[in-house]
Each structure stands twice: as structure tokens, then as C-alpha cells.
């Protein structure tokens, strides 16, 4: 759906439509939209620009990735789940440390390799524009993954730059949001 500002200081956003006889002849979406009753949220933040700007994207990422709530039972937790939960304390294996403030873990996923091993893709992003250069040491943040090769994957914006030297990855702000990417493999 969409949003518009049709007057000074005004904003409006679409919520639902029900056009009986109209068509746009495009896409699979009917203009007569009937659905089971549904509920959706909007969130509003107001403040001075510095305050809102420093929290805007961070808040959006949190709201779009809410804590996942799962039913569980203690019997199952005694097995695999507890091992995962206690990862930070497992012998010789420290879990990932939290990222710096304003640095978002854009990707963290596993890829299976033909040799029956796997590699991990880690991408991080500075999400507070104008906050200055941030340095993230992925070898420390992901201290159980042996970093292998650093490489760049994509450019999302003409201002994004990738700065990678060894295992230290520097996020450069000029002035958009920068993305860096690294590849490692497990022990």
C-alpha cells in the first residue's frame, strides 16, 4: 500500500480498498479486496531530528524483527536447545558477541559446500547515517568462525563503499549506509 503527503505537515497512508467495478488491468491483485478481518500496526515517533534520526532505522529493524515466541517444553530443552542456549558458556566455544551500537547484522546464514562442510555468510551494515566511521572486527564478533576470504558482494548505493583489510572491516560513511561482507568457514 502507499503513503502520501498532500499538504503542509500532513501524511496519509492507505489501509484498505474495495472497488467494485474497477480494474487496473495489472498484476493479480483485485481492486475489490476482501479479506478476513485483520489487524496491522503502525508506529509513530516524534522528536527533534537528531533524536529521531539516531533511532529511526534501529527502531524499524527491531519492530520488523520482533522477538520470536515459540512454545516449548522443558524435556526438549534438556537436549539440543539447551546446548544452543548455553553456547556462550560451552567449553572452548564462545558465541557471537553483540555488534557495536548502530551496526546491524544484515546477514548470518550457512551455505552447504560440496565437500560436506559449510561456509557462513556475514554481512553487516552501519544503520546510523552521519554517525561516523565504525570499525567491526568480525574475527572477534564471530570468534568461532575462522575467517577465510573477505570479499564484496553488492553495491546498494552509489555512496556505499567497502573497506576490508585482513579481518578488520571498516564501515565507511560517505554519507549513506555502507555494507561490508565477509566469508568464513567453520572449524
Amino acid at each position: 500500500m502507499g503513503v502520501a503527503s498532500l499538504g503542509n505537515g500532513e501524511i496519509e497512508y492507505m489501509m484498505a480498498r474495495n472497488i467494485v467495478n474497477g480494474t487496473d488491468d495489472q498484476g493479480p491483485w483485485p481492486l475489490r479486496q476482501l479479506q478476513g478481518a485483520f489487524s496491522f500496526p503502525t508506529w509513530v515517533m516524534m522528536g527533534d531530528s537528531d533524536e529521531v534520526e539516531s533511532n529511526r532505522v534501529i527502531s524499524a529493524l527491531r519492530l520488523e524483527n520482533p522477538l520470536v515466541v515459540l512454545h516449548g517444553d522443558s524435556k526438549a530443552e534438556g537436549k539440543k536447545f539447551r546446548a544452543l542456549r548455553r553456547g556462550a558458556h560451552a567449553k572452548g566455544k564462545a558465541s557471537p558477541k553483540p555488534m557495536n551500537d548502530g551496526v546491524h547484522l544484515l546477514s548470518f546464514h550457512a551455505r552447504q559446500l560440496p565437500d560436506d562442510n559449510e561456509e557462513y555468510v556475514v554481512r553487516v551494515q552501519n544503520v546510523v547515517a552521519g554517525s561516523g566511521v565504525k570499525t567491526v572486527d568480525l574475527a572477534v564478533r564471530f570468534n568461532n568462525i575462522r575467517m577465510n576470504t573477505l570479499y564484496n558482494t553488492s553495491r546498494l548505493d552509489m555512496f556505499e563503499r567497502f573497506c576490508a583489510v585482513g579481518l578488520r572491516v571498516e564501515l565507511c560513511i560517505v554519507p549513506g549506509n555502507d555494507v561490508v561482507s565477509s566469508r568464513g568457514e567453520s572449524h
Partner: protein, 433 residues
């Protein structure tokens, strides 16, 4: 399913897939528990990833765009976008032109993600173990988070009989609040980066039990010690001021017979709901949040009422403390030939500028074009919509107020405007991006 509901599901599915992906990587990299079948997990995640990708691509397709003056991010004309949609569908699934196909893909992605994360965390999904009183909370982001979460009670416990309480993994009581309907219990959960926390719901409860909110008829003003304040209007049942700034919320409806791409081609402003459409308001105050629920009759033979819930979270340290949440409960069918909107008027000088974000989280300006009909000034949203409020006095004063409303919609960029906007931002730095 309406487009709005579909998009909401797409965003939720994307978040669920991300969580499943990270939990899997975490488990494989750090704990590789016995019995965890890596190949099976990754094979389940792939179709989920594929489905989320297809759906997100479709966000940029025609049929989702403004009518005039706006185009997709994929080409300079609707024709190009249509070609892309057709090629994408042909390559991935010859039958994917139907809404049902996209919906089925989303459902597959959602199911697969739920199965993977349940397997990795060794918990049961809500569908299969909904009578469990044990809950696990997983944080898919790489920062420690303090956030309000709700545990459903329906079919599990009846708090009205013996009361319920929430206990953490050590058995210590956790402050909790029941919903007005007694069907959900809310707590503030503190969870480490890429980690989990466990909670149990106990009943009967004799001490440190979940509290029922104090309920009153009519509206109340909402606030927390974080500094968030909401002045509610008795006459509308909706926010009038936020943090002392005028922010008059109103539901309104467009009415037209003429269809057009994305939204109707309209020249008349939407009509605010009349005063008599507000059927009533009820307020609730509890230790976790305060809220005002207002019910509206949309008229025009809509199938039910519109229910709006404005909420402020109490804990100053929780991540929701600085925001005002509004839940919009939309009935199955609004009136024929109507489009329902929420309108917010701040009264502040904005110079006609609206900023919306792209997939890289960068902000692009959408200047108001008076030569276009209303539909031509509508823009698709990705994560955050920013109404950039400019200088009050002269160019040297940089005091600005910013409002953002979180949507759940798609990405868009008008052709040939991207570079111009970026250059403008660089030279003038006149607005957040």
C-alpha cells in the same frame, strides 16, 4: 486476501525466515547439537528463501505502483516492469500469475521457517503445542534487546479462575500484565544477541501474579517515564498530540467509481469519518502498557467495525518506549467503492517534502507534485516513512521535527530521480536520509 494483508504476511514471513536462518547458522557454527540434520535444515530453508524473494520481487511489480508519474524500481515504464514480472513468473513457475500462488508460496515459506527454527531450538511450534505453558523467546538480531512480548493463553490456562504468573528460567517471578480480554499475558523480556530466554506460565498463582489492567470508559492520555506522551481526543478516540507536538489522527475514506493503477485517480480529498462514527472508547492502564481502544462504524454497508488501539509501553528501558503504537483492526469488507486511509495532520511546515526509504534503508525525497492527481502523489513504502519537517524561520535554523510511521510495504523509486535526490542530499544535507 487483500493486498495489505498479503504484504503484512510477507513481512512477517521474511522476519521468520531471517530468524530461522540465523538460528540455524548459530547452531551449526557454535554448537552443532547431535541429531541436527544440516542438510535437511538447509534444504528446508532454501524454498523459504526462494518464496520470500519471489514475493518481495513482486512488491516492485506493476499493480502495486502509483498511477501517474511513478514507476517501478525495475524499469522506466510500467511496460518494462510487466515484462519483468512475466519473465520472473515464467522462470520460476508458469502458473504464478495468480494471487493464490503467491499466497501459497508465502505459506510454504512461513511453514518451513517455523519448522526449521523449532527444530534448531528444539521447541514445538504454536500450532502443534499450543497447550504448552513453556515459552521460548529468540532474539534474531545481534544486539541485546529489552522488548515486550505476549504469550497467548487461549486453550492453555484460564487466568480468570486461579490467576496466572510468569516465571523465568530460574523460577523467579517476572512482572506481567494480562490483556483486557484475558487471552494474552505480556512481559518485558531481556534477551542477549542471537540468543534465547525461557519462561513458564504458572497457574494457580498466589503471588507476583500477572496484573489485570485498570479499565475505564472513554479516553485517557498516555505516557511513560521515557518521555513519550500522547494526548488523546475524546471526540475522535485517536491521538491529538504526541510528545507535545500536534499530530491529529483521523480515519478517512475516498469514494470513487473510477479504477486506476494502485490507487484510484482522485482529485477530492478523503472525507474524515463523521463524528457519529465513533461508537465508543475504552482505556486500560497496566504495568507493561497503557492503551485506548476506539471502535468506529465505517458505514456504507461495511461488514464490521474498525477498531483502533493506541498503546504506549511503560518500561522506559524497553525498545518500544519511545514509540506510539497504533493497531488498526480492519473489518473483512469496507464499504463499496471506498478506500480507507489514516490521515495525520501536524500543522508544521514541511515544504511539501515526504521521505520514504528504499531497500538499502536510505531515504529518498518524494516532493509533492500539484500537477498530478492524488494517486500520482502516493508512494510505496519499504520500512519507514518520514515526513520531513523543515525549517521554521530561515535556512540557518536547523530545528526540525520528524515523524515516521512504520508501514509494511514495498520498495519503489521513480526513474531518473534517484541520482538527483542523492546529489541534493549531498549538497544541501537538508533532511535526514
Amino acid at each position: 486476501m487483500s493486498r495489505a494483508a498479503f504484504k503484512l504476511n510477507a513481512r512477517k514471513t521474511s522476519a521468520a525466515h531471517t530468524a530461522a536462518e540465523r538460528a540455524t547458522a548459530y547452531a551449526l557454527a557454535y554448537n552443532r547439537p547431535q541429531g541436527l540434520n544440516r542438510t535437511k535444515l538447509l534444504r528446508k530453508l532454501f524454498p523459504a528463501w526462494d518464496a520470500v524473494g519471489i514475493v518481495q520481487h513482486h512488491d516492485s511489480m506493476t499493480g502495486t505502483m502509483s498511477a501517474i508519474g511513478t514507476y517501478t524500481a525495475w524499469g522506466s515504464s510500467d511496460r518494462n516492469a510487466t515484462r519483468l514480472q512475466e519473465s520472473l513468473c515464467t522462470a520460476s513457475n508458469p502458473d504464478c500469475q495468480t494471487l493464490e500462488d503467491y499466497t501459497a508460496r508465502l505459506q510454504t515459506a512461513s511453514d518451513n521457517s517455523a519448522e526449521v527454527i523449532a527444530e534448531v531450538l528444539d521447541t514445538k511450534s504454536g500450532q502443534t503445542e499450543e497447550t504448552s505453558t513453556h515459552f521460548t523467546v529468540f532474539n534474531s538480531l545481534a544486539q541485546r534487546r529489552t522488548s515486550v512480548v505476549g504469550f497467548p493463553l487461549a486453550g492453555v490456562l484460564d487466568p480468570g479462575v486461579n490467576g496466572v504468573g510468569v516465571r523465568d528460567a530460574r523460577g523467579d517471578p517476572v512482572q506481567a500484565q494480562l490483556s483486557r480480554q484475558n487471552d494474552t499475558v505480556y512481559i518485558v523480556a531481556n534477551v542477549s544477541s542471537l540468543s534465547t530466554a525461557s519462561f513458564d506460565i504458572v497457574s494457580p498463582c498466589t503471588s507476583d501474579c500477572a496484573e489485570l489492567p485498570t479499565i475505564t470508559e472513554g479516553v485517557i492520555d498516555l505516557s511513560n517515564t521515557h518521555g513519550t506522551t500522547v494526548t488523546m481526543a475524546e471526540s475522535t478516540g485517536l491521538p491529538e498530540k504526541i510528545n507535545g507536538v500536534h499530530a491529529q489522527h483521523r480515519y478517512a475514506q475516498y469514494h470513487a467509481e473510477q479504477g486506476g493503477p494502485y490507487v484510484l485517480i482522485e482529485t477530492d480529498s478523503a472525507s474524515p469519518l463523521p463524528a457519529h462514527s465513533l461508537l465508543g472508547s475504552v482505556s486500560a492502564i497496566g504495568p507493561i502498557f497503557q492503551e485506548v481502544e476506539s471502535t468506529f462504524d465505517l458505514g456504507y454497508n461495511s461488514s464490521g467495525d474498525l477498531i483502533s488501539t493506541t498503546r504506549v509501553y511503560t518500561d522506559p528501558d524497553c525498545e518500544q518506549a519511545g514509540i506510539v503504537e497504533i493497531q488498526h483492526g480492519v473489518p473483512e469488507k469496507i464499504g463499496d467503492n471506498r478506500e480507507l486511509i489514516m490521515h495525520v495532520a501536524t500543522g508544521l511546515a514541511t515544504d511539501g517534502s515526504l521521505w520514504t526509504d528504499e531497500s538499502g534503508l536510505e531515504m529518498h525525497e518524494r516532493a509533492y507534485d500539484p500537477t498530478l492527481p492524488i494517486s500520482g502523489n502516493y508512494h510505496v513504502r519499504e520500512h519507514v516513512t518520514v515526513l520531513c519537517l523543515l525549517r521554521y524561520a530561515d535556512a540557518t535554523i536547523s530545528v526540525r521535527r520528524v515523524l515516521y510511521c512504520r508501514p509494511q510495504f514495498a520498495q519503489n523509486a521513480r526513474p531518473n530521480t534517484r541520482d538527483r535526490n542523492i546529489r541534493r542530499k549531498t549538497r544541501q544535507n537538508r533532511c535526514p536520509y
